[in-house]
């Protein structure tokens, strides 16, 4: 028989504010409540204000006729088009200048970044001066400089500067010949596509063959040959169906050719030079991050100078370069919105500018504009994460 023992002293449960888990719950609930209160306050104020000003909310305005012209459009656009169409035109113009800018900034940045590491004292100093000057001056000022001080002070079309009587530069912009494909020209493009695919297949096959047998073909030269020769043969065989529409001066302006607006030129120049300075720094630090032992080890394995660079240094440097490079690309896309200051018809200029002023739909227009940039940012950072995961060192 067991003797009844006294029950163990009951542990008092601590009050809920001494329990971290409960406290966290309470804190988060309070925070959510505060957030909803702020949002509710803003929404009710906004509705009241919109009501007082007689503005109806909603996206119905996108179907109304815009009634204003846009100087540059990649798709068909007339003043009779809708506001929805202006949104598309602006978006495409933003993408156009961003793509051009990213391409040029990458080239400038890599050239200057490598030049900063040149053993040639003068070249390294010039590249260094470029970086230090252009990244420390506001981008907007650089855009103004190229637009107002350089391109707006060019001569009139009659006194254009010309290069070989085919390319003209004047206050209205840069006029270049436009390629006009004849009936059979599409076959040359097809041949080019086939050649590129063949080259990729060849390089892959060569890599597998090298892994299996140790032999390798000079695949770089062969694929370059395929890409040049195949389209050229097709081009000549189909009777050279390509003519150039050369701009002609008639009256006070040029007809024919493609006119690149001075606004686009100024924005492109400023964006590429400004972002190029940042990319140069990224490239320099990326290359310097590859330790010297890597190069020495590659040379000890008797890789040639070019192979050392291509197979050892650049792949490791790219791993350091790519993440900040992507964020520079994102910056460039976001900075292209400065177009509105010189009147290049980008998304912010035609949509958050003109459309907003004409319709008064501030909330919808600003939200749509921000959503575009957010989407672009998200897409680029998703790509970056995917790329990083692919490139990351496989560690044990």
């Amino acid at each position: 028989m067991t003797t009844p023992s006294s029950p163990p002293p009951r542990r008092e449960t601590p009050p809920f504010w001494r329990d971290p888990a409960k406290r966290a719950l309470l804190f988060q609930a309070l925070m959510l409540a505060a957030l909803f209160a702020v949002i509710g306050f803003i929404v009710s104020n906004t509705l009241e204000n919109l009501d007082a000003r007689g503005i109806t909310t909603g996206f119905g305005f996108l179907h109304d006729t815009a009634g204003f012209g846009i100087v540059q459009s990649l798709i068909d656009y007339t003043p009779q088009s809708t506001y929805g169409r202006t949104f598309l035109v602006g978006l495409l113009n933003t993408l156009l200048v961003s793509t051009l800018g990213i391409a040029a900034a990458t080239i400038i940045g890599f050239l200057m970044g490598i030049a900063r590491l040149s053993p040639n004292w003068l070249i390294a100093r010039i590249a260094g001066a470029y970086v230090e000057i252009f990244r420390n001056i506001p981008l907007l000022l650089q855009i103004f400089f190229w637009y107002f001080a350089v391109l707006r002070s060019l001569p009139s079309p009659r006194q254009s500067m010309s290069l070989g009587e085919a390319v003209f530069l004047n206050i209205r912009g840069l006029v270049v010949p436009a390629p006009v494909g004849g009936p059979g020209f599409v076959w040359t493009l097809v041949a080019l596509a086939v050649a590129v695919i063949a080259a990729i297949v060849l390089v892959r096959w060569n890599r597998r063959r090298q892994a299996a047998t140790g032999d390798r073909l000079p695949a770089g030269w062969i694929s370059a040959g395929i890409i040049v020769v195949l389209p050229a043969v097709v081009f000549i065989a189909s009777g050279m169906p390509l003519t150039w529409d050369i701009p002609k001066l008639g009256g006070f302006n040029f007809s024919g050719g493609i006119t690149v607006l001075p606004e686009l030129l100024a924005l492109w120049l400023a964006l590429s030079i400004y972002t190029g300075a940042f990319i140069a720094e990224i490239v320099r630090s990326g290359i310097q991050a590859v330790s010297k032992g890597q190069t020495e080890a590659a040379r000890a394995l008797s890789l040639s100078g070019g192979m050392t660079l291509r197979l050892v240094v650049i792949p490791q440097a790219m791993r350091v370069i790519i993440p900040p490079l992507t964020s520079q690309y994102l910056n460039l896309i976001k900075n292209s919105s400065l177009a509105t200051a010189i009147g290049y018809p980008d998304l912010v200029s035609v949509f958050a500018g003109t459309t907003l002023n004409q319709t008064g739909q501030a909330i919808e227009v600003i939200m749509m504009t921000m959503a575009v940039y957010l989407t672009l940012s998200l897409l680029v950072s998703m790509f970056m994460n995917w790329f990083n995961a692919r490139m990351a060192l496989v560690e044990r």
Binding site: N120, I137, P138, L356, A362
Partner: protein, 367 residues
């Protein structure tokens, strides 16, 4: 029998071969290592001479410096008279000239505080930081805006020029720092709601361009507040800039927090410290030191970005020069104007970036 002698006095060092010292050797080692480098060097020298000669001719030799009107500019070079004639406006905007001593005093106070913070030899950094972040903004506000001790009020639409640029940048950074710290702590929090609110807030502001933020501040913010609240244009821009900047600041703070070993916080927890004590006494003081270069870099970016306020109609340094260029008396001197603005911005940004590099070297004490 021959005698062996042992010479114990060292022979004098012979001079290095002529080929490896002096200017010629330096040139051989740095400019003319091989045929390609020689060609590159010659090209670079030619480009420098071809480019810099007309520039120096224009900017210095042929330039006009003295005078008050455009008639003084007759030499064909740069017309710096334009800058000197408008200099006060470029610095103070439309601030009443008899009250400009207040702006000057603010500038001097600011310079003293920054020197106190930045020069490593001066003592009592904590006091300086508290004064700069908490006391100086209030003093500066009453000095610039007036309305206290019988100082006449200067409405913000008369502010402009370099003064406005500095106000925007300094207020933006000082106001964004505490918000950024809270957001960064929130992002590291284990509470899911706190964490997701912080992440969404940070990524939203980092994903949109500053221009759209300024547009939003100028057209949407008035809709968000009750009708009777009338917000000043400058205040609206400052709210937009602060929100935008706080997201970037949060990322800087996060970088600083991540640089502190986890053991620090665990040790503090083992001593029985609560969350706010662990953060406030152990982690943040160490992290803040690591963050200074990042803060300086964000400040440089913001300082350059303040020029965007021109789009919503505020007259910062660039905007006021841009407006002066349209003045009929001074048409055609846009290059001089832009060069002046570029020079001012460049001095500030280059100086700050050098300081931040110096700090990074100093903080990077090795592992």
């Amino acid at each position: 029998m021959s005698k062996l002698t042992l010479n114990t006095t060292p022979v004098d060092a012979r001079p290095a071969p002529k080929r490896s010292i002096g200017a010629i050797a330096w040139l051989r080692a740095n400019l003319f290592q091989g045929p390609i480098n020689s060609v590159l060097s010659l090209l670079a020298i030619w480009a420098l001479i071809a480019g810099l000669t007309p520039l120096i001719q224009w900017a210095i030799i042929d330039a006009d410096w003295i005078g008050t009107s455009r008639e003084a500019c007759s030499s064909g070079g740069a017309c710096w008279v334009f800058i000197s004639a408008r200099f006060e406006q470029f610095i103070y905007g439309f601030y009443p000239s008899e009250l400009r001593w207040r702006v000057d005093l603010t500038f001097v106070l600011f310079a003293v505080m920054i020197a106190w913070l930045a020069l490593p030899r001066l003592p009592a950094k904590k006091l300086a930081a508290v004064l700069t972040l908490a006391v100086f903004p209030i003093v500066a506000f009453y000095l610039l805006h007036g309305g206290l001790f019988g100082m006449p009020t200067v409405p913000t639409h008369r502010w402009g020029g370099l003064m406005l640029t500095l106000v925007l940048a300094v207020v933006g950074i000082v106001a964004a720092l505490p918000i950024g710290i809270v957001l960064a702590l929130g992002r590291q929090s284990k509470m899911p709601i706190v964490k997701s609110i912080s992440v969404v807030f940070i990524e939203f502001w980092r994903g949109v361009p500053l221009i759209t933020v300024l547009f939003m501040a100028s057209v949407m913010l008035p809709l968000f507040v009750p009708t009777e609240v009338d917000m000043d244009k400058l205040v609206r821009a400052l709210i937009g800039i602060t929100l935008f900047q706080s997201a970037y600041m949060a990322e800087v703070v996060r970088g600083g927090l991540q640089a502190i070993p986890k053991g620090q916080e665990e040790a503090a927890a083992a001593l029985g410290m609560g969350y706010w004590k662990r953060m406030g006494l152990i982690v943040l003081p160490q992290a803040l030191k690591m963050m200074i270069p990042g803060i300086v870099n964000t400040f440089i970016a913001l300082f350059k970005d303040t020029s965007l306020v021109l789009i919503i109609g505020l007259f910062d340094l660039l905007a006021i020069v841009q407006a002066a260029l349209a003045d009929a008396d001074w048409l055609g001197y846009s290059i001089e104007g832009y060069v002046f603005v570029a020079f001012v911005f460049w001095i500030f940004c280059f100086g700050m970036s050098r300081y931040s590099q110096y700090l990074e070297r100093k903080l990077h004490t090795g592992h």
